[in-house]
């Protein structure tokens, strides 16, 4: 399955330990198998696109990785850490950030405060209670604002942003956590063509220092990312490789692209 040459940006030697390792993950809800023996390996520094029809298990996969859903069976490792034993907060602290499908930002907070709350720091209530904003935090938040093109919106309420801007702010929130791995669910959904292009560029820049998994429906967007693609179908991996490779796979054509 893995035979085709892949255009990953952060190509890594074989000997390197994978960053994320999912093996035989199964999850069922009331008898419905959302994930059925899913296996996926992500190298450090890699960007991966995950595609698949609705109900293929993309969101459930993210839920398992981020600790929202416990798998019935299978192994989920992030470096040395067993993700199936940790909760959402612990996994976030470990260095996995997640962007939701529907852009989710703190609408009643300013754009700047959204980032401030997300900056990597001690999250314990006792510490947060007496935390004051330091100059370095301001600088870091401003740096991220620039990266996600929201500097002009710094003092606005996040609820006033356009849909596309909210998507970027949420990516900014992820970056503020300084995660090693970003899980990004449909970042280009509802965006204009120009915004989609800027998002592609943003993800590429992020990938220079971090690993990324992008779940996406938009094939033009996936093509523009030019990374290794994993096709999910009915809870397991149907095909993996370059977009060209998977789109020539007859099974993929049948379940997904051909429709």
């Amino acid at each position: 399955m893995n035979a085709a040459p892949v255009a990953t940006i952060g190509g890594t030697p074989e000997s390197m330990q994978p960053l994320l390792y999912l093996d035989g993950i199964s999850v069922s809800f009331d008898g419905f198998k959302a994930l059925n023996g899913l296996s996926l390996v992500l190298d450090p520094g890699e960007m991966r696109a995950v595609i698949g029809p609705n109900g293929a298990g993309k969101t459930t996969m993210m839920d398992v990785i981020t600790g929202k859903t416990r798998p019935d069976s299978g192994k989920a490792m992030f470096r040395e850490a067993d993700l199936t034993q940790l909760d959402e907060a612990e996994i976030a602290a470990l260095g996995i950030g997640r962007k939701f499908q529907k852009p989710t930002v703190f609408e009643m907070h300013s754009v700047f405060d959204n980032l401030l709350l997300a900056l990597k720091a001690d999250r314990r209530p006792s510490r947060v209670l007496f935390a004051s904003t330091r100059a370095i935090e301001r600088e870091r938040a401003d740096g991220i604002l620039e990266m996600v093109r929201l500097t002009g919106m710094r003092g606005r309420m996040a609820g006033e942003l356009s849909h596309g801007q909210k998507q970027w702010l949420e990516i900014g929130i992820l970056l503020a956590q300084e995660p090693e791995l970003l899980l990004v669910d449909e970042p280009a959904a509802g965006m204009t063509d120009a915004e989609t292009e800027q998002t592609t560029e943003l993800l590429r820049r992020i990938n220079e220092t971090r690993s990324v998994i992008v779940v996406e429906h938009d094939m033009t967007f996936v093509r523009a990312l030019a990374v290794k693609v994993t096709v999910l179908h009915e809870g397991s991996v149907l095909a993996e490789g370059s977009l060209e490779h998977v789109s020539n796979d007859p099974r993929v054509i049948e379940v997904y692209l051909g429709r």
Partner: protein, 378 residues
């Protein structure tokens, strides 16, 4: 946020109001009765009651307005604080009771009890009682919150079980063998810290103490909600799972605030009881807790100031209406809640701040703002 717009000086000014008002009314009540400025005793008691309720409203606003926990059982914490104070006041009666028993309160003698139940020990000391006023509601909130938040019970389900909590406590306190005076509750109090509760000076002092506590807790809540901690609370209210995936332990934040809020409510109850002169199980009635939520909604949820304003205004209306047309009060209360929910989603305070924002915006934005105000009220 609205209290953010108040600024530090505005908040200090707001905080000064209850204290200044109670000092003024308290002192005026001590003037001779024939003086033109004399404030009659019943006004002192009424104002004290309103402000004790305002403290309860503040505690409800902290959890509902800022963390989104709609507690329909906060009256229980208020009543528990009240009972703790009542137990101290009962033990102060001593031999002055009808039966003249130096240790046992009248109702225990009446029930033929031979000795004081263990849980009444220590309540003859004010310091111990004061500790229990915060510890008992706090401990209940902690245990309840720990179980509920850890299991991620939220929304309507949480509201329903808080309602069940206060209802269960009401049934328990109605029982004579619980040792809290059954349906008569605790009453016939004589003195507090040696001061006669019937004396005008004691009443004035209690009123001022209530004003001081209200001012103090307003400032504490304001600081809490303006700090980064408060921003996390609002984040939890608006996007709980986003906050969780950022690595915040949402349940710990909720538990901390819920427990603190219950302690505040307990202090409110403890201030209420000596001024009213009685505490009985009807204070646990679910309707009381719901009324407290209505005060907050009327005044303006998530504004702190609004909760206090709402408590005073609604209770003033209640005093007036139950005096003149007692049978329509509940209809008025229900109607008020529906009206506020539909037409004033930001409450009385929102009316003022909304107007200011409205005027400063161009016509195009005005329309959006009204739309959002309605959404926010849902």
């Amino acid at each position: 946020m609205i209290s953010a717009r108040l600024g530090l000086y505005g908040s200090l000014l707001v905080a000064a109001v209850p204290l200044a008002l109670t000092i003024a009314v308290g002192l005026l009540s001590l003037l001779p009765a024939d003086s033109a400025l004399h404030v009659p005793g019943y006004v002192v008691t009424l104002l004290g009651k309103y402000l004790a309720y305002a403290l309860l409203a503040l505690s409800v606003d902290l959890v509902w307005g800022y963390v989104g926990i709609l507690s329909l059982g906060h009256g229980a914490f208020f009543a528990l604080g009240g009972y703790a104070m009542g137990m101290y006041l009962m033990r102060q009666i001593g031999t002055r009771g009808v039966y003249g028993d130096p240790v046992l309160p009248d109702f225990m003698v009446f029930l033929n009890w031979q000795e004081l139940p263990w849980y009444w020990y220590g309540f003859d000391h004010f310091a111990f009682a004061a500790l229990m006023i915060v510890l008992v509601p706090g401990a209940l909130a902690f245990v309840f919150g720990y179980l509920a938040f850890r299991s991620r019970v939220s929304g309507v389900y949480l509201s329903i079980i808080t309602q069940a909590l206060t209802f269960a406590l009401m049934l328990a306190f109605f029982r004579n063998d619980m040792g809290f005076g059954g349906n008569n509750g605790l009453t016939d109090f004589k003195d507090l810290l040696g001061a006669n509760l019937q004396a005008g000076s004691t009443k004035a002092g209690l009123l001022i103490a209530t004003g001081a506590f209200l001012s103090f807790f307003f400032l504490v809540c304001r600081h809490l909600t303006q700090s980064r901690f408060g921003k996390v609370l609002i984040a939890i209210r608006d996007a709980e799972s986003r906050t969780r995936f950022l690595g915040y332990r949402v349940e710990r934040y909720k538990l901390l605030v819920f427990t603190f809020s219950a302690m505040m409510a307990g202090i409110g109850g403890a201030l209420y009881v000596p001024q009213i002169g009685i505490i009985n199980p009807s204070e646990f009635e679910p309707a009381n807790s719901i009324e407290a939520v209505i005060w907050v909604a009327v005044g303006g949820r998530g504004t702190l100031v609004g909760s206090m304003v709402g408590a005073v205004i609604v209770n003033f209306a209640k005093t007036v209406l139950t005096g003149t047309f007692p049978e329509i009060w509940l209809f008025v209360l229900g109607g008020l809640f529906i009206f506020v929910t539909l037409f004033m989603p930001r409450g009385i305070v929102g009316l003022f701040t909304g107007l200011r924002t409205w005027r400063s915006q161009p016509a195009k934005v005005r329309k959006q703002l009204t739309g959002r105000a309605l959404e926010a009220g849902e």
